[in-house]
């Protein structure tokens, strides 16, 4: 009798603490979401006042940025970010896609186990090191070779460096997308007489299209969010770039350049820049997620 009662009590306590543990774990799981909420709250809290005071149009459409004199135009920086990101994709997508195809379709397994970690190692290199290499090698190169002149610190330099930096992202996610395409697709295509190249371009790539698009969008997100490397090579001039050789400033650089000094309305304006950046990266992230989600539906 006592045994049964004691066992029941023991099981009851176990179940109780199990429930408590589950609650704790749930709290932990919510930590990422709550952090996101917290970040949103604080960025808005610091940046919104000046946006409301000046009106969002002054930020999004204004062409002059001189916060110490009350000018808060972010448009040159928005354009700068757009130009540099587009340039990064021009560099990164062809190289990245080719690399992904090579590793997923063409390379023997042993080469893959060697090369894939190496490419992921590219992602581990600090962005300041990339920027440094850009400063020491790329910028002087552009300055001395560019037929149109230009100081070397330019949208071109930033695009190239960023393109290299997003390679691991694009390659990694594209490889996942390619590997998710069922073997039967390839086998069927080859059985019908197609060459490997025809199989890749005609069957595998279209099937993996959504995943690859997601990879590109996530690469975009990475480029949009990069700060240090861009500050070091883009020149940071607050202007609309007249050519790829002109210096530009991105939204991220805008924040980092002036953050150490700023106070009052100037600091708020930088947080406002952060709001714009935040919205852009959330948007890119959710688009990528939606594209990826539809991939899961597409391949049966």
């Amino acid at each position: 009798m006592m045994m049964i009662a004691r066992t029941r009590a023991w099981v009851a306590t176990a179940r109780l603490s199990d429930a408590m543990i589950e609650r704790c774990l749930l709290l932990a799981a919510l930590s990422a979401v709550s952090t996101l909420a917290l970040i949103t709250l604080f960025i808005l809290r610091e940046g919104l006042p000046v946006v409301i005071a000046e009106g969002p149009w002054a930020f999004l459409a204004g062409v002059k940025w001189a916060p110490s004199r009350g000018a808060y135009g972010l448009l040159p920086m928005i354009v700068g970010t757009a130009v540099v990101t587009a340039g990064a994709l021009v560099v990164g997508v062809p190289l990245g896609l080719a690399g992904a195809i090579t590793l997923a379709e063409l390379a023997p397994a042993r080469a893959r186990t060697l090369l894939k970690p190496m490419i992921e190692l590219l992602a581990g290199i600090p962005s300041v090191v990339y920027g440094f290499i850009g400063m020491e090698i790329l910028v002087p190169f552009i300055r001395e070779r560019g037929t149109l002149g230009g100081p070397g610190y330019s949208a071109l330099a930033a695009s190239i460096i960023l393109g290299i930096m997003v390679l691991p992202t694009i390659i990694g996610i594209s490889i996942d997308a390619l590997e998710a395409v069922p073997r039967s697709y390839r086998d069927g295509s080859r059985a019908l007489g197609a060459t490997q190249w025809q199989t890749i371009t005609g069957v595998v790539l279209p099937a993996a299209r959504n995943g690859i698009v997601a990879a590109v969008i996530l690469g975009m997100g990475r480029a949009v969010g990069e700060t240090m490397a861009v500050i070091m090579v883009a020149g940071n001039a607050v202007q609309f770039p007249g050519s790829i050789l002109a210096p530009v400033r991105t939204l991220t650089a805008n924040i980092a350049l002036e953050m150490s000094y700023a106070s009052g309305a100037h600091a708020q304006a930088l947080f406002a820049t952060g709001i714009v950046l935040f919205i852009i990266s959330l948007a890119l992230n959710s688009i990528a997620g939606r594209v990826r989600g539809s991939r899961r539906k597409a391949t049966p």
Binding site: P94, A98, I119, I125, V128, I171, M259, N285
Partner: protein, 266 residues
């Protein structure tokens, strides 16, 4: 076809070039003195000891935040729930957090930890901010590791009478340990190479930090400062070499852990 191979060669070649370039110019600076001496003249002479110590402290603080939270979250996602609206919210939140630019984390850390919580520019502020930044990485990798543990582990544990938590704690978690540790190690690697978030939370003081409330300059911030101020090319290359070698070791460590995991389930 060769275009594909050539592109891959270019990509790999870039990696090797970057590492080689840094190490070639920085290797001669590396020495035990370099690592264990204090810097003089804002870092133009001497070594980088305070930055090494600061990096260790800040990374440790980040891991102390990210590891418990991240692994617990992963356990919840992997073991306790089926796919539902709640898990979808959690997952999208984690994914979104992973995509937030590091400068936004810097702004947030400055507004929240440094200013509102009053921690000031400190190792604590920097570590907490970085911890939140690497949280998604830890969650993602840990969840994968937990899901990789075969079903029958759980079935056997529960048929022996263990409660859910007991089976997780004593059986599943140890089995998933290599994968979980990989996630933590990769998170450390990310924390070490991070600059934008750290500058605005941990500050740039070049002194040896004596407490978690002290401002501290990590190696990557020191490297950035040396470079941008043009203080010393040699010291910059040397610091970069330490950073690159550390990242290399961390990545190699992570991969050998991953291999141990896959080997266990072959």
């Amino acid at each position: 076809m060769w275009v594909m191979w050539a592109s891959t060669a270019v990509t790999v070649g870039l990696l090797l070039f970057i590492i080689g370039f840094i190490l070639k110019r920085g290797a001669h600076v590396l020495s035990w003195e370099f690592l264990f001496t204090n810097p003089r003249q804002s870092g133009a002479l001497g070594g980088i000891l305070p930055t090494v110590v600061s990096t260790i402290w800040v990374s440790a603080a980040a891991v102390l935040v990210a590891a418990p939270l991240g692994v617990s979250a992963a356990i919840y996602l992997a073991e306790y729930t089926k796919e539902s609206r709640l898990t979808r919210i959690i997952r999208s939140g984690t994914e979104a957090l992973a995509g937030i630019p590091s400068i936004i984390f810097g702004l947030f850390g400055f507004a929240f930890f440094v200013t509102t919580l009053g921690l000031g520019w400190s190792i604590l502020s920097g570590g907490l901010t970085l911890g939140l930044m690497i949280l998604p990485t830890v969650i993602r990798t840990s969840e994968e590791a937990l899901r990789a543990v075969p079903r029958y582990y759980r079935d056997v544990a529960q048929s022996l009478g263990a409660s859910k938590w007991q089976s997780i704690r004593s059986v599943i978690l140890p089995a998933a340990a290599p994968g979980v540790m990989t996630g933590v190690v990769l998170g450390i690697g990310r924390a070490i190479s991070e600059t934008a978030a750290v500058i605005f939370t941990a500050g740039v003081a070049l002194r040896m930090p004596l407490s978690p409330f002290d401002s501290a300059r990590t190696m990557s911030v020191h490297f950035y400062t040396l470079t941008m101020e043009g203080i010393s090319d040699d010291m910059a290359y040397g610091t970069a070499s330490v950073l690159v070698v550390t990242i290399l070791l961390i990545n190699i460590g992570a991969y050998s852990l991953m291999n141990r995991l896959t080997r266990r389930y072959r």
